[in-house]
């Protein structure tokens, strides 16, 4: 095994604690029990661990090539968001003298092998990852091996949200959906339903939480809210069927907010265009058909990701600037006479 600098994971292993605990000892020692603190401090000294040692390397030799994964085209409506992000990232990277290189991967394990290949070949200096998920082994590996990266997507395990080694930018779906609900209500919609993905995806749960929070603000209690939401997998047909179920259990609905434009289109078809529908991602489909949608502002996301890459290795541990939460735009469209839908 090649000689490498010790990482926070090495310290955690040596001290028999979690990475988070090591991070706490380094950043907020007062919240850690003394015995644990001593064990971690001893391990740090023994291994010669220096926070951000590998990242500091980047300070002198600035990254010039960043790698981004590009998946095979899967069809459907919502993939457009990651393509828009790639366009924005490429444009802004070039303005900073950086080059974007693409790779593909069949799964997380394969992606980690690609990291190794790209790093071994000295082809790539940093990674920008999208579509993070709970327990994502890719970010663990990059942290472990000290390679600079930024994710579009927060770390979905709650205790790691403030991990000082994980730089991330994300879009505040909760705030975006809550704002859409408030605007629908302000324009006269009394009962606003939510068509979401099945519970368990961080992104989807956040979006539903935004809807629930806005209704709670308006005095709609949990029992009532339970009648106003249904789930569907990401397909127009599933969304259409789910929206019909929703109308069955809440016939006096005025509007529906959906977790994606795909789900929104299903809801529009099911309701025959009679209800106001707000989607998520502001895809070309929403624009073409003319329904409202929440825009992720991927241009801001790309700008923030590159700023964060600049900070990797320069910020101190626990630097609040290592995370960015972008508030999305709610794009309200009034369905014109041009296009109605009959379900």
């Amino acid at each position: 095994m090649p000689r490498r600098l010790p990482t926070v994971s090495d310290v955690a292993r040596a001290a028999g604690v979690s990475r988070q605990t090591v991070s706490n000892v380094l950043n907020s020692p007062e919240i850690v029990r003394e015995a644990t603190r001593d064990r971690v401090t001893a391990a740090v000294a023994e291994l010669g661990y220096r926070p951000h040692a590998s990242a500091r390397r980047l300070r002198t030799r600035r990254a010039s090539t960043i790698a981004v994964r590009l998946d095979p085209f899967a069809g459907g409506i919502s993939g457009a968001v990651l393509d828009r992000f790639l366009h924005a990232l490429t444009e802004r990277a070039e303005a900073r003298g950086l080059t974007v290189m693409l790779y593909t991967a069949t799964d997380a394990g394969d992606e980690i092998r690609q990291f190794q290949r790209l790093v071994d070949g000295a082809v790539v200096d940093a990674f920008v990852l999208a579509s993070t998920y709970s327990g994502d082994p890719r970010t663990e590996w990059l942290i472990e091996h000290g390679h600079p990266f930024v994710t579009f997507g927060r770390p979905w395990g709650i205790p790691e949200l403030d991990d000082p080694q994980h730089f991330w930018v994300d879009v505040d779906g909760r705030a975006g959906v809550a704002e859409a609900v408030r605007r629908l209500r302000a324009s006269g919609a009394r009962r606003v339903g939510f068509l979401g993905w099945p519970a368990g995806s961080g992104t989807g749960d956040e979006r539903r939480a935004g809807w629930a929070a806005a209704l709670a603000e308006a005095g709609v209690d949990a029992g009532e809210r339970a009648l106003l939401t249904v789930d569907a997998e990401e397909s127009v047909a599933a969304a259409r069927a789910a929206a019909k179920r929703l109308l069955g259990q809440a016939s006096d609905l005025d509007a529906i907010v959906a977790a994606s434009d795909t789900l929104a289109l299903g809801a529009l078809i099911a309701t025959g265009g009679a209800l106001r529908v707000v989607g998520f991602d502001n895809t070309p489909v929403a624009e073409a058909i003319g329904f409202s949608s929440i825009d992720q502002r991927v241009d801001e996301v790309a700008a923030a990701a590159l700023e964060l890459l600049d900070l990797v290795g320069r910020s101190e541990a626990g630097d609040p600037r290592s995370h960015r939460l972008i508030t999305p735009d709610v794009i309200m469209r009034t369905p014109g006479p041009a296009l109605g839908l009959v379900g």
Copy 2:
């Protein structure tokens, strides 16, 4: 200026003829007048020109990184095609051990400066260009400087279509549109109109020519055809207005074939879903709304582009394998009860 190998352009300049003439002398000497042939042969000898000398370099040092331009996201419906091409190219490139690198450019001059930068930095071995147009200075520059490239899009100056130094793959829009017209007629549509772009774009003119050829086959004469087609710029609103004009001049229309999905959507709205409409590009919008469209088969295009890159430097001058014309798929969709449009 750095010492470089003579190119076909140097020979053309020295002999006072066009590049095409040089190419003819090399490939089909019998079609060139003797005096011209002698001048070209003398210039070839004097300069020490060897066909494909620079490309031959590639034979030993195989390209491992290919550069592709990625433009800022422009919104709209049809941009999805180039994104799909990039996905397919990245996936297939990786399977061949190649890496895709992205760059941006504000115009052709800027793009040529980028070529120079990427070549000087030894970052890139070959280029894949999309969106070629008549008199494209980018391909001229690449040929002149002996850098391997393939275009998605034929060279739109007719005399250069068989340029042995320009490797290209393109989609046969003419054949695709003609096939769509034939299938509409076979399923009972008697009068099939065409909603195209204003004359002058090679791609658009080819698509209109396919429609005209299929109608001519069916005995519709030029005078009648003139009433069955109108132009619109690439926007839903312009297409909608143009489709209304078309209905005004040909009220007994049964179907419309459009040069793009954007134009098709405008036609669908204008006709209130009463006519059959076929678009071009089979975008997510066509899929979501459920109208027919012609699919460019970008996966085949990507595969062909990489095969051609492999051939650059190995094929003999005039090798017919240096060009590929892919026949697109006509995807016929019957508008379901799910979604009607009211104009």
